[in-house]
């Protein structure tokens, strides 16, 4: 009796927990104020889906699912790399520049940083075009 019951109850619980974390991560994808936030959350989603696939492999006994999980991991990794390149190529673009930094004045050690970050932006133009040619 026990082996099967233990396994199936653990599987149910884990599926519920994973579903919850999936929803939480999707919430970050929707909300995430900047593009890198969304990419991090998408990367995380791939990990969660790999967990789902592993659970289903245990449930159904089809070990072929492991190959699917590995290829999904590969695709997810390549997608993240491509997104990172995209972030580099696009710059900060049209999104609200200080979406995440608080509207109040930033703490003293970081105050010059914001100025530099913004003053650096015009310089990003030629760098981007160089990258695009590569």
């Amino acid at each position: 009796m026990t082996a099967q019951t233990i396994l199936s109850s653990a599987l149910w619980l884990a599926l519920v927990v994973l579903g919850l974390s999936f929803l939480l991560t999707v919430w970050r994808v929707i909300k995430g104020p900047t593009l890198p936030d969304r990419v991090v959350a998408l990367d995380m989603l791939v990990g969660i889906v790999i967990g789902f696939i592993a659970l289903i492999a245990i449930r159904t006994g089809f070990t072929l699912y492991i190959d699917i999980a590995i290829s999904l991991g590969l695709v997810g990794f390549l997608a993240t790399v491509a997104f990172a390149r995209f972030i580099l190529a696009r710059g900060r673009g049209e999104e609200a520049p200080e979406a995440k930094a608080s509207p109040v004045a930033p703490a003293a050690p970081l105050a010059p940083k914001h100025k530099r970050a913004t003053s650096r932006k015009p310089g990003a133009g030629p760098a981007v075009s160089r990258k695009a040619k590569k």
């Binding site: 927990v17 900047t34 959350a41 969660i48 967990g51």
Partner: protein, 112 residues
Amino acid sequence: MIAVLIALLTALLILVGAGFALVAAIGINRLPDVYTRMHAASKAGTVGSGLMLLAVALHAGDLSTLARALAGFFFFVLTAPISAHLLAMAAHKMGYPLHEQSVRDDLNDHQN
């Protein structure tokens, strides 16, 4: 007896893995900026899905499955830091700010 033991171990791996995935998801929502969120996603998330793959290997109990699951585990553990590193670098190069609680930013001082 052995079957029960293996089932217990598998269940433990599954639950701990799912727990880490949940923690990573909570972290991704609670932490204040991109860089700190990456900590949660790249560590807890990787360990979570890796543990569940190990559970598959343990449950199947034959060597070819074990080999593939281990290969998958190593693959995830090796690629997660690379993608986190690339994302962090891209975000920082494009001037996405650190959270205002941040105490120092040597990279910015270095670049400017």
